[in-house]
Amino acid sequence: MRTTLSELAPLPAPPASVAAGPTHPPGDLAVWFFILAELLVFAVFFAAYAFARAHDVALFNAMQEQLDRPGGALNTVLLITASWCVARAVQAVCEQNHAALGARWLAGGIACGGGFLIVKCIEYADKFAAGINLSTNTFWMFYLSLTFFHFMHVILGMVILAVLWAQTRRGIYTPGHANGLESGAAYWHMVDLVWIVLFPLVYVMR
């Protein structure tokens, strides 16, 4: 997992000791169980969306035109950036043993998450002003339910990042003792991953 993160972020190759380190996923087993359960919830939601769309492709395509695609793209960039910040934070703590730097990266992640919420709120305000609600039609029911459920996860993820930020500042995490940090980071990446599926599925795919 560590090597995968490093591959994703354009970083110098990790020291050999780290690259040859433990092969099990970072973080706690419990958080991975939780992440898998969360992914399953979203997977069922996505499957239901696909099922409903297959029954009325014309409606879904027509309604999709009304979505704010640039806003969604901006949000995708924000979340990926947030994940990058969080990955850098873990790296700063676990490989460079630099807690203050790690905390700054986490703050960057929280800021990007906040940006996501603002963009999303503008989108929601626009949709609600147009009189769209859960009962408008199946597409909007899915759009509002899926994105709002994800929205709540972003908020939860930011709460977790805020706790990690406070604890990292207090120097609780050190290389080899960063189970909590890695667990929280893994959770945040899950929130990001779900959006990376959600955005093309709901906003782009036709």
């Binding site: 939780f34 969360e38 919830v41 939601f45 859960l134 029911m141 339910s145």
Partner: protein, 472 residues
């Protein structure tokens, strides 16, 4: 027993078991009424028997939860209970009020009972599971408040653990959601909408927190696994419970006049409600396999593992069977619902209360565990009751499938009563299995009166890693 005041749990547990026996007797009466319609008529009509059967279940589980809290909270908080006297007083108030209510159901016509108990002041009666007269409902609130006051102050003055925190969250939630039983709007859709806030948010919400806390407590005691590990899993389980269970209320909103999106929300979220139950199964077996000691009370361990498995099957699998809106369109309110209700209540709540009783009662009676003989008898009762319940569930499921087919799915649907006649064989089989359940329950009660040498602690090395296969 570490704290003297834990002893107040004992009368609660005894009352719980006593009412459990009553519940099963009325279950057998109404089970027979399914096939012999005028059995005991007019003394005990079907609707009264059903009301007593379900109300007794809820009341005895509440006795069990309260007893569990009185037992666990002093030990978790490492301090005596705030007021053992209050706990005992509330016990008698609750028992007498509960008994009077049941007597009222049995001796008076329901409408007369409503008249006598002030239903004209605030109409709350006449709704399934919330049939209690107004004064009983008010009494329940007073007992609950006194109970919560007592245990909350105990928690506040002592050590705060995740288990006591989650238990308190569950118990407070139980009390808060019960308040919706006083809200009975004229509009039938709204009435049903909020009715589920008591019924669903109890059994698929806050009660699961209580279940998790009880199970975690017993697992810590019998396995000796680190509290940290057990509490971490507990957090994961209750978070999953709340994510799926709260919106999962929507699976009751499919056909009552609520907006159409509930069909999607209800289907999706409740389809995932088995996950926390599955996590609970894995959790129970994992902890027992990682145990650091072999507690002499093997029966309690068996009940704990049984809770893990049966709650997943009854609440998780049998709930999922009919939770998707397109399926529920056909199965709604058939015997499939009854099958699910029986195994879910038994597997989750009956078994977890019996788990804590199995663990705590010997301690309350001054020993770590009962004699080997008593434990063997208790384990026999475990298997008799559990296997009977599996068969009750299977027979009701078969009856339900046939009912759906003949009455709703077929191109020539038949009337309700005609179909009931055709599935009566399954009702007979269910009734026979119910008698075996009663036998199991009698053996369970008998196990409390078994004498013999208290079981000695088994050494940690022997049988390590085998308990799962031996007892499950």
């Amino acid at each position: 027993m570490q704290y003297k005041s834990q002893a107040v749990a004992k009368p609660y547990f005894i009352a719980a078991i006593g009412l459990f026996v009553g519940q099963i007797l009325f279950g057998l009466i109404m089970g027979l009424q399914y096939v012999i319609g005028d059995f005991l008529f007019p003394a005990i009509p079907f609707n009264i028997a059903r009301m007593v059967h379900t109300n007794l279940l809820i009341v005895w589980l509440l006795f069990g939860f309260m007893g569990a809290a009185y037992y666990m909270i002093p030990e978790e908080s490492e301090t005596e209970l705030h007021s053992p006297g209050l706990a005992l007083a509330l016990f008698w108030i609750f028992l007498i009020a509960g008994a009077l209510t049941i007597v009222g159901y049995l001796l008076l016509p329901y409408a007369r009972l409503a008249e006598l108990t002030g239903n004209d002041i605030l109409a709350t009666m006449g709704r399934e599971f919330l049939e209690q007269p107004l004064i009983t409902k008010v009494g329940i609130v007073i007992v609950a408040l006194g109970f919560l006051y007592n245990v909350s102050l105990t928690v506040l003055k002592g050590r705060k653990t995740s288990i006591s925190l989650i238990l308190m969250l569950g118990l407070w939630g139980l009390a808060v959601f019960f308040l919706f039983s006083f809200y009975n709007p004229e509009n039938l859709v709204k009435d049903k909408f909020y009715w589920w806030w008591v019924v669903h948010l109890w059994v698929e919400g806050v009660w699961e927190l209580i279940l998790g806390a009880l199970l975690a407590f017993v697992l810590i005691k019998v396995t000796g696994v680190d509290r940290e590990v057990i509490e971490k899993w507990l957090y994961v389980i209750i978070t999953l419970t709340l994510i799926t269970g709260i919106v999962g209320t929507g699976h009751h909103y499919f056909w009552i006049g609520t907006p159409g999106y509930w069909q999607w929300w209800g289907s999706i979220f409740s389809a995932l409600e088995p996950i926390p139950f599955f996590a609970m199964t894995i959790f129970a077996f994992n902890m027992v396999n990682r145990r650091r000691r072999d507690h002499p009370n093997r029966a309690a361990t068996l009940w704990a593992l049984g809770t893990g498995v049966m709650s997943f099957l009854g609440a998780g699998v049998w709930g999922f069977l009919h939770t998707l809106a397109p399926v529920n369109y056909y199965t709604h309110g058939t015997q499939i619902t009854a099958a699910h209700g029986h195994m879910a209540f038994y597997g989750a709540y009956v078994m977890v209360v019996l788990t804590i009783i199995s663990y705590a009662m010997p301690v309350l009676r001054g020993r770590a565990a009962n004699s080997n003989r008593a434990q063997v008898v208790e384990m026999w009762s475990f298997w008799l009751m559990t296997i009977s319940m599996v068969f009750i569930t299977l027979f009701l499921t078969a009856a339900g499938i046939l009912q759906v087919w003949l009455q709703r799915f077929s191109s020539t649907p038949q009337p309700f009563m005609v179909v009931q006649e055709q599935i009566s064989m399954f009702y007979w089989m269910r009734e026979v299995t119910g008698v075996i359940f009663l036998l199991g329950l009698a053996i369970y009660v008998a196990s409390f009166f078994m004498k013999g040498e208290a079981a000695a602690s088994v050494s940690t090395t022997s049988g390590r890693g085998e308990i799962g296969t031996q007892t499950a």
